[in-house]
């Protein structure tokens, strides 16, 4: 059975290409959500095995989405991979990562093979 991944990022082009890549690699079913305000609702209806979450987004940022997911028991356990293009290392350590708890943070531009490896680890094929 394909593993379900929810991609939350306001960059429509980026999510479209990431989806194509993940699906091409086999074994993934990917849903895109470009509006971070809808991310939690999308997670609730899609019930993904993992969520890939951008940090800097208008409306709610990645940290906000993550915090909200934590408050919902059925979603709190879903592993989250944060993506960030923030170049300022202080922002990375003080801001997003602290809010994201101990979740994984990957830098943007995304190294596809690294992301695939991470996903393989947190949601292994059954």
């Amino acid at each position: 059975m394909a593993r379900k991944i929810l991609l939350v990022d306001d960059e429509a082009g980026f999510t479209q290409l990431l989806k194509m890549n993940l699906e091409k690699s086999g074994g993934y079913e990917v849903k895109i959500e470009n509006d971070s305000m809808q991310a939690v609702a999308a997670a609730r209806s899609f019930m993904p095995d993992a969520i890939v979450l951008d940090v800097v987004m208008p409306g709610m940022d990645g940290g906000d989405v993550q915090a909200q997911l934590q408050t919902i028991p059925s979603l709190a356990k879903i592993p989250v991979v944060m993506l960030t293009a923030l170049v300022d290392s202080t922002e990375l350590s003080e801001g997003a990562v602290a809010q994201a708890g101990n979740q994984l943070v990957l830098p943007k531009p995304v190294n596809l093979s690294l992301l695939l490896r991470v996903l393989e680890e947190i949601v292994p094929m059954e």
């Binding site: 306001d10 960059e11 082009g13 980026f14 479209q16 290409l17 990431l18 194509m20 890549n21 091409k24 800097v56 987004m57 208008p58 409306g59 940022d61 293009a85 923030l86 170049v87 300022d88 943007k108 531009p109 995304v110 190294n111 596809l112 093979s113």
Partner: protein
Amino acid sequence: MEEHSIVESVLDNLPVAVFAKDATDGFRFILWNKKQEEVTTIRASKALGKADHDLFSQDSADYFRSVDEAVIKRGKLMKVPEEIIETKNGREVHLRTVKIPVHDKETGRLLVVGISEDITEQVKSLEQLERLNRHLVATNKELQETQMQLIQAEKLESIGRLAAGVAHEVKNPLALLLLGVDYLSEGIDPDDPNIATILKQMRDAVDRADRIVRGLVDFSSQRSLSREATRLSLIIEEVLLLVKHELTRSNTQVTVEIEKDLPFVYLDMSKFEQVLINLIINAVHAMSKVENRRIKIKARSESLDEVIKNEGARKREVFRTGDQVVILEIIDNGCGIAAGDAGRLFDPFFTTKATGLGTGLGLSVARRIVELHGGELTLRNRSLNRGAIARLILPTKLETGKVTPPINSSKEIDIPKEKLSP
């Protein structure tokens, strides 16, 4: 009381030098009044009966003689606007002289009568005035150059502040390109329906990164003020691209309302972008303690008469009535302007921001740039809601608006921007 003829008394009390030479007797002096004594520092007793060559230097005497001969030959009055004689003590005296040919009926002699006005002081003050003027022009030019340097320095400052955001905006298209490359490098299946989408996305990403980088390079260039007919919407679009990251990060919602068919405005793109970036970043900072941060950018065209009716007569000094102007407003819902700060907002180095967040030059430079465009920049609190309005009034013609001194060649229109070479 000495005995003098009326003529002698009059001559000696005239404020001008008067002399006469006998052309029929080697141009020897037969008349030499008091003022002539003063001007030449030669006594009448020494001069009478002598010719120019006995009294003045060879060059001066030659010149005087040539004029005298010409006066006699033409039988007409001649004006010498300025001649210089050097006195015995080495002082230069500037004279304006009229020479008149006179036929003395009683004696049958031909005379040259000269009347000279001492214009030395006039010439000296004129020279001094010219020197002062040259100095003033040089100082003014220096001031304008300094001002352009200040504008540039402030701009580099904001580029520094924008750099992280711009880098982020460039990284997004790069991320997308990398994903495209990843997809394609797995082997290309000609029947794969995704390929067309991927290639289009990659091309768009290159365009986008190029636009952002080009925008930053254009913005950072130091050119003399060069105004071109521009659509305001275009500048606003470019600026929003450069500050996108700041807006996203601060979670600020921006709405743009531009009236349809807004007239062109004559702007220096790079310098005007600087103004808008300053105003938008200011608005973002002013909203740091506010939820629901909102910036509204509105532009409309109005006749100046309406502006005066609504705003009072103060605008008259800047624009002429009947002018069509474009009004651009940047409205935020931030903390507004504190009552005590209103008078100092545009003072250089005045800032309410924490150390390191602002130089205090932004608004003063912004206002100067707007004034260089013949426009006006004001800031005030909103009347009903919280927040501030930055309002720009811009002329829609090149020649209207306040006359500002040209900076280098300030009205180079339609000069194409330098092309970026790869």
